[in-house]
Structures are given as structure tokens and as C-alpha cells.
């Protein structure tokens, strides 16, 4: 399951627009995988590592 899938599972209300504007997932190909590079959602809090584990 990708980070994107986990976020949708945690917050089903997230929309495509959110990923175009307030949320940016990123992968630098440095072996660390996908991560949240930006989280500026107006109502939903940034998920913790435990919630995404």
C-alpha cells in the first residue's frame, strides 16, 4: 500500500484537489521512500508516523 493509499484510508474525504494544492507527497529516490513533503490542509491534521505505519 502506497503512502497515498494510506492517507485515503485514514482520511476518505481527501480529494484530488488536496493533492494539487495543500498536500505534497514526495520521493527523492534516496531509499527512504514516499514521504509527506508538505501538509497544509485547512482542516485535517498531519498524520503521525504511527497512524501511517
Amino acid at each position: 500500500m502506497t503512502l497515498y493509499d494510506k492517507l485515503l484510508q485514514l482520511y476518505p474525504s481527501l480529494t484530488q484537489q488536496d493533492f494539487l494544492t495543500t498536500i505534497r507527497l514526495q520521493n527523492d529516490l534516496d531509499g527512504k521512500g514516499d514521504y509527506i513533503a508538505k501538509w497544509e490542509h485547512p482542516t485535517l491534521p498531519r498524520p503521525t508516523d504511527e497512524e501511517l505505519a
Binding site: F19, L25, Q26, D34
Partner: protein, 188 residues
Amino acid sequence: MASVITATTTSGLTQQADNSGVLQLASGAGNLVTVPSVTGTAMVSGNMPAFSAYRSANQSVSINTYTKCQFNTEEFDTASAYDNATNYRFTPLVAGYYQVNSSIYMSGSAYAAYNKIAIYKNGTIYKENQNGASSAIFDSAIQVNSIVYLNGSTDYIEIYGSTSIATGTIFGGSATLTYFQASLIRSA
């Protein structure tokens, strides 16, 4: 006015001087190079880095995740400033303003909705572009172009892309659709 050094066909090398601070080099009858009285670096082809690289095979990526594109095949790299094997970044050693062009072909087995592409400078988004694809289209290419100042020592640029294609998400390998280019257009 200018101080002029001329290579003639009759008298060899001649010169005339004035106090303008401008230097002209003349060759034969009419070929003239002017070095103005300003601070700067005279640029010739030998010290103007330029490169072009493309992605030769498909690169799998996660949906809706900005991922660095691995442009792994060089077409030219005049100053050996592009790393096409490890970090996939352009780090020129000449300070100045660079024209940057890139395109990524994004494809998958489900409908595309949104694609994004970005020039990252030193790990941070510098310029980006996004589009919305038709629901009847499985794949598309997206481009970003910009002029970027690079300091000639530590500054580097990379290209990232993102797509909402849900299944089999890839950056398509293509010499004509998935490429990264940069060239110095003005020195610092």
C-alpha cells in the same frame, strides 16, 4: 570608440589605442569581436555548459507523489555537469542563467486526471506546471520550462513529476517525450 587589434592580410597584426576602455578584435575585413567596458565574463562555446538527457525505459512511481525522474541516457553533456547514474541532477561549474526544458510522458492502465512536473533547485520546487487530462485519455506528456540562476559551484537542478494515474503508474521511457535539457544563456 575602441582600442582595436586587427589581423590584416597585408601588414600582419596592427593596433590602435584610445581611452574608451573598450577592446575590439578584428579579423580580416569586417569580422569583429567587441569586449565592452563592463564587468562580466566573455562567454565562448567552450565555457557554456549544455546538456540533454532522456529516460530510456519506463520508471515506476507512486500515484500522486512527486518523484524524481531518472533521465539516464545522455545525448550530449558538454561540461560533464549532468549526473545520469546516481543523483540525476545538473550541477554546472559556470555561474549564470540557464534555460531549462523538461517533459515527462506519464502513462498507466487507468485514466489520468492530473499530472504535474517541477524543476527542483537545491531540493526545493522552483517552477512547476500542472494539467488536467481528459477522462478518455490514458496518458499524456507534460512540460516545464524556465530560466534558472545557478551559482556555478553548489547549485543543482532536478526534475520531479507526479500523476494521478491509479494503476501501473509510470514515467514512460522515451527519447522524444521524457527529457531534461539545460544550457547557459547568460553568465553571472
